[in-house]
């Protein structure tokens, strides 16, 4: 039940709203924290975030600084270890996860890519959810021709051959991370998520509190913004988590095909190892440090966001809660 | 008259994260052969918990922690699940709240009843069961030809009749009807109530009718138990309950109920709200809303006593109250 009562008249609307938000955050956190899988996901994400946003800059400025390390370069994109006789080299004290076929440090590549994976995933998911929420609620609310148009569009987007399209597109324009996030965001925004959020908005639309606001003279945009969107928002947020997973995964696939114009990413690490012939036949077990770290990173981070989504599901869908 | 069901000091608690919910806390009553008892109470007072305990259909976190439920002398609290399965339907049948939705939409209504019969009486052949269903249809006022229809082809009232027929299928000794007419319109409700009373008398069955609506209870029950916050506060024959109520809650309930019959009296309200059953207090649970509450009522729980023959009340001040009522009315 309610944690602490917020009493009194309007001290200031903003502070009250902040207090209310904090209170509902605490309540929801309590439910979320009961889901083991969600908490596990959150921990994995936090560890990755620490590694990418804190550990990497520190390492790059200290031990991995070119002047300090002498001949050994740790630059993830251009670095080459001259002290190493043969590349790729297995893990050693200098290179905790070994080097890649071009003599670059695998750990440095891994850490360097982490913030970029986050940025891509979250940007793509934000765009998806923004488009999906607006189109889903508008379609549901107005119905009729508007609804039919957007739903048929969603059907088309869902059936759209995504990967072949990107292969062709990559031949025409340079796809960097930002553009990729935009493309993924647009395509999934008009696709599946719209259908899900629309059906949620349909449920909200027929609630008596909508009629109650209409009786007071509320306009259609007012109803969508003030009543329907806040009630589909939790679901949007949930789907955002699943979309982060989708975006990171798509990036890995596209990098693996070498279709993206990016300096370094987990997918690209595997691509480099693969094109140099280290992931074929018996090599796959021998040169494990080339594909296992990026592969595990992709799996873990995608899985972690999915787990968070599962945990949020219990917050958003009360029927899943065990009481 | 022999007792079909004797409930003695039944205690059924739910354990929740916030604490114990004492949904039934020391419930005692007897239902005799051919008698219909009404169980009245507001939502959350534990009336459905009582019926679920009798049927032994308990939620995972619910447990009968004390008392006995004697069905024809046998304590069903102690029965094994397989033994209890034999008593359900054949001994005690139940008509649930929103029973109309309990029919499976993809099977013919008649077949669902036949299936229930065959499941409980393996010796019966399909043809015999079908004949029995036809009889039951006639009994509840349905055309036997409608047996081969699907539930969506029935109206709300017809579905309710079919569910009653289903509950009668194995000739139970006791029927528990839990708000069976709540979702129905008045005219249909009236027909179903009449039908149910008629069948109950004709078959000399016992019935427990659970409702929040005292007007409906007045129509069907000979004996009435009033429940409040997990306890029976008053139990007697229908006329006594309506004409000489002794517990302040019963008095309040009677005078707050609008009627279309007779003089238009002023409605009296019971102040406050029904209490939460969670971590219920050790004093009289009606005390916070009771106009007659004294210090005693805030200190201990009043005993459930027979203040006159067949009139049980759990209140420290029933007597003077009764005088007051008889002076006024």
């Amino acid at each position: 039940m309610a944690t602490k009562e917020i009493e009194g008249a309007l001290e200031s609307p903003l502070t009250i709203k902040m207090k209310l938000a904090w209170r509902s955050f605490k309540e929801n956190w309590k439910i979320f924290s009961e889901s083991k899988i969600g908490v596990l996901g959150l921990w994995i994400v936090i560890i990755f975030a620490i590694a990418g946003f804190i550990v990497y800059p520190i390492l790059a400025a200290t031990v991995w600084k070119p002047t300090l390390s002498g001949m050994v370069s740790y630059d993830p994109v251009t670095g080459y270890d001259f002290t190493q006789m043969l590349n790729p080299a297995p893990p050693s004290l200098h290179h905790l996860l070994g080097t890649d076929p071009l003599g670059r440090d695998v750990l440095a590549q891994l850490l360097y890519s982490t913030p970029r994976e986050f940025a891509l995933g979250i940007l793509a998911a934000l765009i998806t959810v923004f488009i999906g929420t607006i189109i889903g609620t508008v379609s549901a609310y107005y119905g009729g021709a508007v609804d039919t148009f957007f739903m048929r569009l969603a059907d088309l987007v869902l059936l759209f051959p995504f990967i072949p399209f990107l292969i062709v597109l990559s031949g025409m324009i340079q796809i960097d991370l930002f553009r990729l996030a935009l493309i993924i965001g647009l395509i999934s925004g008009f696709g599946g998520i719209t259908i899900v959020l629309r059906s949620q908005a349909m449920i909200v639309k027929v609630k008596p509190f909508i009629e109650s606001a209409k009786v007071s003279g509320a306009s259609n945009p007012y109803l969508i913004v003030n009543h329907i969107i806040p009630n589909v928002m939790p679901l949007s947020f949930l789907y955002m988590m699943f979309n982060v997973t989708g975006a990171i995964f798509s990036e890995a696939v596209l990098s693996f095909f070498g279709l993206l114009n990016i300096k370094m990413s987990w997918g690209l690490m595997i691509y480099t190892a693969d094109t140099a012939g280290y992931i074929v036949g018996s090599n796959i077990g021998h040169y494990w440090w080339l594909w296992l770290p990026p592969g595990a990173a992709i799996t873990l981070l995608c899985g972690a966001f999915y787990f968070i989504g599962r945990g949020l599901d219990e917050v958003v869908n009360p029927r899943l809660r065990r009481r | 008259m022999s007792a079909v069901l004797e409930v003695k000091d039944l205690k059924m608690y739910y354990s929740t994260k916030q604490g114990m919910v004492k949904a039934a806390d020391g419930i005692s009553f007897t239902v005799n052969q051919g008698e219909s008892m009404g169980l009245v109470g507001e939502s959350g007072c534990g009336k459905t918990s009582v019926s679920m305990s009798i049927m032994r259909l308990l939620a995972e976190n619910a447990k009968i922690v004390g008392g006995q439920i004697l069905f024809k002398g046998q304590d069903i609290v102690k029965l094994k699940e397989e033994e209890m399965n034999k008593i359900r339907w054949a001994g005690i049948a139940m008509i649930f709240q929103a029973a109309m939705n309990s029919l499976n939409p993809v099977y013919r209504v008649g077949d669902q009843i036949i299936e229930a019969i065959l499941a409980h009486e393996p010796d019966v052949t399909f043809e015999e069961a079908r004949e029995r269903v036809a009889e039951l249809y006639k009994l509840v006022g349905l055309d036997p030809k409608r047996m081969d229809n699907y539930p969506h082809e029935y109206s709300g009232g017809m579905k309710q009749r079919a569910v009653i027929a289903m509950s009668l299928a194995c000739n139970p000794d006791l029927i528990i009807a839990d708000e069976p007419t709540t979702a129905l319109d008045v005219i249909v409700q009236d027909m179903i109530l009449k039908e149910l009373s008629k069948i109950q008398k004709k078959l000399n069955m016992s019935m427990i009718y659970i409702s929040h609506d005292i007007a409906v209870i007045a129509e069907v029950a000979e004996k009435i138990a009033i429940m409040y916050s997990g306890k029976i506060v008053e139990l007697s024959d229908a006329v006594t309950i309506f004409k000489k109520p002794a517990h302040p809650y019963t008095v309040g309930l009677m005078s707050s109920f609008p009627s279309i019959h007779g003089e238009k009296k002023k409605l009296v309200t019971i102040p406050g709200e029904p209490p939460n059953l969670l971590n219920a207090p050790d004093h009289c649970r009606f005390a916070p809303r009771c106009p007659f509450a004294t210090k005693e009522c805030w200190e201990k729980t009043p005993p459930y006593e027979e203040i006159e023959p067949n009139h049980y009340v759990a209140c420290f001040h029933p007597q003077n109250l009764r005088k007051q009522v008889s002076i006024n009315g």
Binding site: A2, I6, E7, G8, A9, L10, P13, I16, L20, G143, T148, K207, P208, F209, E211, S212, K214, V215, S216, G217, A218, Y222, H227, P230, N231 | E42, S43, S155, G157, D185, V186, I187, V188, D190, K194, H212, D213, I214, A215, A218, A221, A238, V239, F242, K243, L253, S256, F257, P258, S259, I260, H261, K264, L267, V268, T269, I270, P271, E273, P274
Partner: protein, 337 residues
Amino acid sequence: MDEAKSAVAQETVLKVEHLKKFFPLRKSPFSRAKSFLHAVDDLNFEIKRGEVLGLVGESGCGKTTTGKTLLRLYEPTDGKITFLGKDVTHLKSAQDRKWFHSKSQMIFQDPFESLNPRKTIFDIVSEPMNIQNEGSLKQREERVMEILKRVGISPPDAFLWRYPHELSGGQRQRVAIARALVMNPQFVVADEPTSMLDVSIRTQVMTLMMDLIADMHMTFIYITHDLAVARYMTDHIAVMYLGRMVEYGETEDVIQNPLHPYTKALISAVPIPDPEFKRKSLQIKGGIGKAIDPPKICRFYERCPFATERCGKEEPPLYDVGNGHKVACFLYEKDGK
């Protein structure tokens, strides 16, 4: 009607003439409607200031549709609605809409569903003022506190920042009433406002509403299926059957002396909280249907125990049998005007 009495202070607030609301039945949003559900069919009545009109009938009789059409949640198919002397049937201009919506309100059946679960009590109660841009934040706050206190939510400041799920059913319905009355509406439609509440809470809410109606001189339409509740809440009753008004009159008149066979059946079916009273109910055949493109005959014809050949050929008009008691049945042709 009592001419002297009505001439004094009783101003007609709402006048409804030949109101019709038909719903097209379509197979898909693009096909043309072949048939229509006549949810409300040719309704005529007027309500004076401070008067409570009860719309009673079984589910599907059109009573809720009538209420919602009057509040313009549905566009009327035909007819005329006059509110405070002004034609509000179509509300073409934004100014008219604002005027009408700030003076009319609705109370819903389910007190949980009619309050947005993600809004606080302050947001919910002040929303009508917010939509109409009425008053400053400070004024809104004062008004919300005042009205919450009036409906028995006390102390109001302890409830302002709670969410609906933290309130009990009775409190929620009080909040819904506060919200409806926050702008001092002149006309309120209440759709079964007590049917989801517990017995003891129901009486509290009924008493509160009766007090408020008397205090605020509101014109009220009380929609209910429960005649016993209607008896206590209303001054006049209109009994509806399949979209048509079959009987209208003063509440006690209709309850004590029902004329239409349907009203008789309805009243005789109401259970009486008295075990010694033996009701005699008027049995009628069949169940309530749906008025889909109904023929021009009496809609109760097939179920009526008194039906004559004529009832199956023409539609009975409303006959006035005196004291404003009107009934749509040929049995009263001689008594009526």
